[in-house]
Symmetry: C2
Subunit: 501 residues, 2 copies
């Protein structure tokens, strides 16, 4: 159980109260060399190919802020970004909470420092009378999943917590007031002092709950500014240095694979469904009219949609997406075609580019191919290592949970055709001049791996279809049938969300 | 005079009412090849190194939307982005109006399509009873300056206006209603029909006022959807093709340079100013306390600040910036160090990366070096061509006007030292281990061009110091004096803005 009363707490913070100080002389002797080493580590980092996130927080916010300013001063400002998280902006409030952390993640070779960030979300929920334990559990699991995803992807995560005994805290404020520098004390500092006895035990719990082998919390006693500054610089430098100097990690041990199923979910899809042209026109128009109505209402109510389209090459994703978006106000949707990642996207976690496009409240984003590429093409073609695509199922579930918890309607479509139909379509495409550019050697090559893809689709659907973000397997040998089903499915999902049964 | 009564208008739109139609057969014969050519042009564009902006608008919004959807369908979606401008988001409202256009600009090799955008701003101001002629003039000059800046930078700007006679407009709505497709008609369409007699003469004026040789408006008669679709595709294709096939432009003719001044603005700076240590501490603390007070008030009132720091190498910009930001709440400011542009920045207009960092209301952004690099280092070192840096003065004034009109406090500092002091500081830096990384060969090389830089600074200050965004020349041979002056200047500017004299 992670939830303790104040008495039960191990006292990680108390244990850090050692009264450590650094004399001025020692400080001035030590610092210059440390600065050189920090900057050199930054330069080495640029070619090392991993990002660094320094998380700065503390019950002593004054010290946390000071440390952040110092690090900015000591390091080369061109390669370290600093992000202070406070009240959310409106573009942030209109998206899942973690959007703002993802959007600021540093690229490989760079350092991002985060003041407060997700730790503060935990506090906010805990100190908020309304937030029950359920929210807290969920939040804690997001913190852990997020940090794990970063670390698994190679991010060096350094977490610094600044702690000061209450009496010292008070003394500092008095000292500053005496020097006429009380403008340096923020209302937040005074509030923290006032609620010190509540905050510190809470912090103690959160720290032990979120301290892991790969991303431990470092508690820095912050009473003496010189000590606190040197300690921060040393921890950051040594974390950077030991990671930079470490031999490249050996490849993870092979994982025991899935037992191949004889029957896959795709076998259950009835590909014989068809629609006559007249019937098609009637049903499509009815579905579009219905979608228009509910999508306008959803938009007004701030309900967003994320629609992911996957399927075999030539299954008709583009055509289905066009019929769908034809019924949505052009101001309210955006189609994101997913191709190979750009240089910038490649320098980030693979989910970063999808977080970038998470819609704000009331908007719809249609992904033409999606994050599922990780467990489909990247798995089958070997672009991702086995340990990478295996952990992706969990990462994806966590990602979609962030969306659905924010109230976003998440639907995932697999457009299914059989191998015979695909071949016929490839051949027809070659006859149509403007479709020819869509056919590449790769398309034919992919056909050779049909069975491997079937296996991947099967596992993907089983592991990531959830009540809140279900997969829809759409028979698409008949395009008309597929298009109508897609439009109807989205309309129904929105209708249900709006409580219109 | 750009302002006409409806009667005086030349009737650009009326002239387009030719009743043009395209038969189904012709359409189906022509389209496939045109699609191939469009996609091929897109592929050629990728290596051609210029961006394309397609501006889509019209009194016939239904047709404009349809055209945008069609272009998305006909082209390769991975290389064309579509942006629909409607109500502003809060992050947008909190910044100068053009921020949202700049943030969505396509990179070189890509196409960005813009539905409505800045043309609509003109309408909004004109139809708005409160917006006087003054606002309108200003807006029109921003439109022209913006389009000119894009075109000068190499952007291909294609502007499409969809126009339909009123009677045809009405007929279409009836036709759709009859087919049960009235959901395709938006409230905006009905509003435009209602105010048709006001909107069309206005549009006529705006079109002739903003149609230029390099970025003309194409008026497309949109009554017949097949005609409108083919015409749009043909215009876009032919604009793309002729630009792609054009021989590289010959370098512009040499410009007659400035007559070298004997006396430069820098000669007027009194470098003898100094401050004793005690006096420094007292005045710095007083200035910081004062800045803290006014910056908190400014932040609450939503007043933003843009502070640009330029100066000789080793003039002490970093130190001055730290004393300044020490007095600002860490949540309210951000320092942006400007180094060589990243790959992404390089693929955009040089002002793009500064627009990216324009603060939202209530925030302060400090640029450690800035857009003035264009007329300083880029000019002197030959990174920009003469025609490029010469037109930059006007582009920069327009940029800063966008900021000040939005209410942002804009201050620019030149930290001035003499050549002797600089040499002494370079030598001292070499003695200080942690400052050594700041010294490069380039620094010494730049010293050889001292006089060329003096000339550039002189011209920069004369051409870009305005009442609303003034330059401050700070004597910095004495660091203490410089730091205090910087903090005091910012505090005073904010105090003045807050009406505290």
């Amino acid at each position: 159980m992670w939830f303790h009363t104040a008495q039960e707490v191990a006292g990680l913070l108390k244990a850090a109260e050692l009264g450590q100080t650094v004399e001025k002389e020692e400080f001035e002797q030590t610092l210059p060399e440390l600065r050189v080493e920090l900057v050199n580590a930054q330069y080495d980092l640029q070619s090392a190919g991993f990002p660094v996130v320094i998380l700065v927080s503390g019950d002593d916010q004054f010290a946390a802020r000071t440390a952040l300013r110092r690090m900015q001063e000591y390091m080369d400002g061109r390669y370290i970004g600093s992000n202070v998280f406070d009240r959310t902006s409106d573009e942030e409030t209109r998206r899942p909470g973690y959007w703002r952390y993802w959007r600021q993640l540093p690229r490989k070779g760079r350092i991002g420092s985060y003041l407060n960030a997700w730790v503060s979300d935990l506090f906010r929920h805990k100190l908020d009378e309304d937030g029950g334990e359920k929210t807290l559990y969920r939040d804690l699991s997001h913190v852990k999943a997020f940090e794990q995803a970063l670390v698994d992807d190679g991010t060096l995560l350094v977490k610094l917590w600044y702690h000061s005994p209450k009496a010292e805290f008070k003394k500092r404020i008095k000292r500053l007031e005496k020097k006429g520098q009380d403008w340096r004390v923020s209302p937040m500092d005074r509030l923290l002092l006032e609620r010190y006895d509540e905050v510190v035990p809470l912090a103690d719990e959160f720290l032990s709950e979120t301290s892991t082998g790969q991303a431990p919390w470092y508690v820095i006693e912050s009473t003496d500014e010189r000590h606190s500054t040197l300690a921060s610089a040393r921890i950051i430098h040594s974390a950077l240095r030991s990671r930079l100097d470490a031999p490249s990690p050996s490849p993870p041990p092979p994982v025991i694979g899935e037992i191949e199923a004889n029957q896959t979910v795709l076998d259950t899809v009835d590909l014989s469904a068809t629609l006559e042209k007249d019937e098609y026109r009637k049903r499509l128009n009815a579905a579009q009219a219905s979608l228009r109505e509910v999508s306008e209402e959803a938009s007004e109510k701030g309900i967003a949609c994320v629609l992911a389209f996957e399927g075999w090459d030539a299954a008709g994703k583009g055509g289905a997406i066009r019929r769908l978006t034809a019924a949505i106000d052009i101001r309210d949707f955006r189609v994101i075609p997913i191709a190979a990642p750009t240089e910038e996207e490649h320098a980030h976690h693979y989910l970063w580019r999808f977080w970038r496009h998470v819609p704000q409240n009331g908007k719809t984003v249609v992904f033409d191919r999606s994050w599922y590429g990780r467990v489909l093409v990247e798995r089958v073609e070997g672009f991702a290592r086995e340990d990478e695509w295996r952990r992706a199922y969990g990462e994806i579930r966590d990602f979609e949970e962030h969306l659905t918890e924010h109230g976003i309607v998440v639907l995932k479509f697999w457009l299914h055709i059989d191998a015979e139909e695909q071949l016929a379509r490839f051949q027809a495409r070659e006859q149509t001049a403007y479709k020819k550019y869509k056919i590449t050697e790769e398309d034919y090559r992919n056909r050779d791996r049909w069975d491997a893809y079937v296996q991947a689709v099967n596992e993907m659907v089983r592991r990531t279809s959830t009540t809140d973000a279900p997969w829809h397997l759409v028979p698409a040998n008949d395009k008309r049938h597929a298009r109508v089903q897609v439009v109807e499915t989205v309309a129904e999902a929105l209708r249900a969300r709006l409580g219109k049964g």
